[in-house]
């Protein structure tokens, strides 16, 4: 044991008495300024999880909606199945998937994608259903085929509902992705619940939580902008 004393040692800091803002787990603007860089990686991962989950979810839900658009009887069953996926508590799903798919981004993405399906499917279907019959008749009268009708008439007119669905899906996914760390996928939930003082440290909660909120709002506004740009007739109508 005495051999250890020969070792160069790390010098303990004197922390008795006055505690700094950081040691008190307080809200410390300076610490935030100095450490904001540490949040870059979790933030980017959070963006990645959200964007990929919404993109996969949209691809699946869109395809399902187009199929169900032709075969109406499918709407009920698809809504029921995606509805069940949507209602499962996220915490449970991140754990339940692990014995099957291991830890990591894949597991998180499966869960997050599953959550977006109901919202996206419902909104695409709703959008297509809400296209006025007269317009479809008019298009039919001009000799539009089913395919032309879908891509040139129905989908453009359904765009507001489709994008509304994407906005809901994106903001919901930003929230759910805070639990992705439980599946080993990182994201802003990781610093928030880092196993150390994470959730007790106000500065950390403000930054990590704040970035979640900002990300959600940014994606929401971005999609709103896309909708405005893609459907100029709506703007004109006011």
């Amino acid at each position: 044991v005495s051999g250890l004393l020969v070792l160069a040692q790390i010098v303990p800091r004197n922390r008795a008495g006055h505690q700094t803002c950081v040691q008190r787990n307080g809200f410390c603007p300076r610490w935030i300024v100095d450490n904001i860089g540490n949040y870059k990686e979790p933030f980017l991962r959070h963006v990645e999880l959200t964007v990929l989950a919404v993109a996969f979810g949209f691809a699946i839900a869109f395809a399902l909606a187009l199929v169900a658009h032709r075969r109406r009887w499918l709407v009920g069953p698809i809504t029921a199945v995606t509805g069940i996926l949507y209602t499962l508590p996220s915490l449970a799903v991140f754990f339940l998937l692990q014995p099957l798919t291991g830890r990591g981004v894949t597991t998180a993405l499966i869960a997050l994608t599953a959550y977006t399906l109901l919202i996206l499917f419902r909104n695409v279907t709703l959008g297509l259903d809400n296209v006025p019959a007269e317009i479809k008749d008019a298009a039919r009268g001009q000799g539009y085929s089913d395919r032309q009708m879908l891509w040139h008439v129905e989908l453009p007119l359904a765009l507001p509902e489709i994008i509304a669905g994407l906005r809901i899906a994106a903001t919901t996914t930003v929230g759910l992705a805070t639990l992705a760390f439980l599946a080993g996928a990182g994201g802003l939930g990781e610093p928030l619940f880092d196993g150390g003082e994470g959730i007790n440290f106000q500065s950390n909660v403000v930054v990590a939580g704040g970035l979640c909120v900002l990300l959600a709002i940014a994606l929401d506004l971005l999609l709103l902008g896309v909708q405005r740009a893609a459907s100029p007739w709506q703007r004109a109508r006011g």
């Binding site: 499962l88 915490l91 919901t172 950390n204």
Partner: protein, 583 residues
């Protein structure tokens, strides 16, 4: 195969709902109607009060604003913001600024419930046919009567739609309340350790007498997985049984399935009404004799070209100390020429062991006491109190049960203790060991995690081993273990011996003179095939670099992360430089 295993988990899960079992660490009953109903009632309390408060605020506000035709902007803003703000962020925010309490969770959930209720009520009133309102006015109805007698009834379908949306999201979100230290149906998911049971052990137990010797020692409170929990936790798993570690997982997962089932039933029931809502349901000593392998301390770690191209992935458990250790070993191995990747913050020892077994990682730091009781099936009373003996036992069992190599252990031990403020110690006549509290403890309050009070190696052990009773037992979240005595909410607490706060707060920690707690030195555990592949330098580097890790040093390193908020990687680097292992 997958289907069969999933079904068996569900079977185990269903049993959890209807029948209580002895938790694998043997000190408490988990599951069964009693516990499920208790958690259900807590869950319903959280959800019910939140919905009630939200309804009291949002419905009148929506009605009045809708009636007046004002606040269109407010209504859309509230609904957009409500949708965009992640529920977990709200809960974290309330936890860090207001502390863990039921009231805070209820407040956070109330905020989640307000947007859909307000928006739907507002829209509901706005879309009432103006002709009906005019007709009522013509009949001499006053504004209040129009609101109560015409607009409210006509907007009820939308108001209830909003209520349903709010209910689904509140009930789903209440599942994550345990992450912030408040019990709900999410508890069995988050505190996985406590909720694991072991059929084989249970069976053995039934066969044998019920007598249990008092000196059962394990490592309690850090169990609440997901948070500042630590080594010992999850007794989720059953130890050595002939079927091997694979079946362990099944049992644990069964609990998870059960908890998930229970948690799902509620929102599913709500949603089954066919809601058409779109809102977010938005939803954690001396080094061992074998250390001879390395030469003198403080020696610079040498680069060896033979290690070039050999890569390994290092894991860790989900708390500060384990993460720092992962980085210390990893950074040192990098200097020796290895290619090192990290997958730190894995979770409990079960999660880490599974990751190690399935080649997701190649090694991680584990505590000898935890490994013996929680992974290797040694009964707490059989754990050797000598740290070298404990290490040798762990090494032997790791090899025979898992084909893992347990490298020599660290000098420091991270055990639990009984702690108090200097002022309390003075008042009690400066006790030095736990036995000194005999005759005084009945006037003192003890704070500990809910689990601690159920375990024989924690508060229960104080009674069984030392014969101490306390005036009151105050259940707290593990993260509050130092604050609770600093703020005078309790006289005694159960800290970890390497907690940096002990020195910083000048807390007095009593000596465990009757050896309630087993040794908790750290051993770096490596899978045998990885051990063979990585060559002799692995063990050499690990044993060299941990020589400086005495209890005060480890405690200082923890302080730098927990108190000074430095990054664990940076702190590991500081250690390696200060001790001269790395230039």
């Amino acid at each position: 195969m997958v289907l069969a295993s999933a079904l068996s988990e569900f079977g185990d899960g269903l049993r959890f709902l209807v029948q209580s079992d002895t938790s694998s660490y043997g000190d408490t009953q988990v599951g069964g109607p009693h516990e499920v109903l208790r958690l259900l009632s807590l869950h319903l309390q959280l959800s019910g009060f939140s919905l009630l408060f939200a309804a009291l605020v949002a419905i009148p506000a929506g009605l009045v604003l809708g009636h007046l035709g004002r606040g269109q902007f407010l209504a859309t803003s509230v609904s957009n913001i409500g949708r965009a703000v992640p529920s977990l962020a709200i809960i974290a925010f309330f936890f860090s600024f207001l502390g863990p309490s039921k009231a805070n969770i209820i407040l956070a959930l109330t905020l989640l419930a307000i947007p859909p209720l307000f928006t739907n009520t507002y829209v509901g009133v706005r879309q009432v046919d103006p002709d009906s309102v005019d007709a009522a006015r013509g009949m001499g109805y006053g504004e209040g009567r129009i609101l109560a007698g015409v607009e409210l009834p006509m907007s009820l379908p939308l108001v209830f739609g909003g209520l349903r949306t709010a209910a689904v999201s509140v009930v789903a979100t209440a599942t994550i309340a345990p992450l912030a230290g408040v019990e709900s149906l999410g508890t069995p998911l988050v505190a996985r350790g406590v909720y694991g049971t072991d059929r084989d052990r249970r069976a053995r137990r039934r066969r044998r007498s019920r007598l249990r010797r008092p000196a059962e020692c394990r490592h309690p409170a850090r169990a609440e997985a997901g948070r500042r929990p630590a080594h010992a936790p999850a007794r989720g798993v059953s130890p050595p049984n002939p079927k091997g570690p694979d079946t362990m997982r099944t049992h644990m997962s069964g609990r998870l399935v059960a908890a998930a089932l229970a948690a799902i039933l509620l929102p599913a029931g709500l949603a089954a009404c066919g809601s058409s809502d779109k809102s977010s349901s938005g939803t954690s000593g001396a080094a061992a004799a074998t250390t001879g392998a390395s030469s003198g301390g403080g020696q610079l770690i040498q680069y060896d070209a033979a290690n070039k191209g050999k890569s390994l992935k290092i894991g860790s458990k989900n708390f500060t100390e384990s993460i720092i250790l992962g980085y210390i070993y990893g950074e040192a191995l990098k200097k020796a020429g290895y290619t090192v990747k990290y997958d730190l913050n894995l979770g409990t020892e079960q999660v880490a062991t599974r990751a190690l077994k399935s080649h997701e990682i190649d090694g991680y730091p584990e505590y000898t006491g935890t490994a013996l009781t929680s992974l290797l099936g040694v009964k707490p009373k059989d754990v050797p109190h000598d740290e070298n003996a404990a290490y040798q036992e762990a090494k032997r069992l790791y090899e025979s049960k898992y084909k893992f190599t347990a490298l020599p252990q660290t000098p420091f031990t991270d055990s639990q203790a009984l702690g108090m403020t200097a002022a309390t110690a003075k008042k009690l006549g400066n006790p030095t060991k736990i036995s000194d509290l005999k005759g005084k403890s009945q006037n003192l309050t003890l704070a500990g995690s809910a689990e601690c009070f159920k375990r024989s190696d924690c508060a229960l052990g104080f009674k069984q081993v030392y014969g101490l009773t306390f005036k009151k037992e105050i259940p707290i979240d593990v993260s509050q273990r130092h604050e609770v005595i600093l703020k005078g909410k309790a006289d005694l607490t159960v800290p970890f011996t390497t907690d940096g706060q002990i020195a910083a707060n000048k807390e007095v920690v009593l000596k465990d003179d009757k050896q309630l707690f087993p040794p908790y030195n750290v051993t770096f555990v490596v899978r045998d095939d990885a051990f063979a592949r990585l060559g002799p330098d692995l063990e050499k580097v690990v044993t060299t670099v941990q020589k400086g890790l005495t209890t005060p040093v480890m405690s200082e390193l923890n302080s730098r992360v927990d108190l000074d908020k430095q990054q664990p990687l940076a702190v590991a680097g500081e250690y390696l430089k200060a001790t001269g292992y790395v230039k």
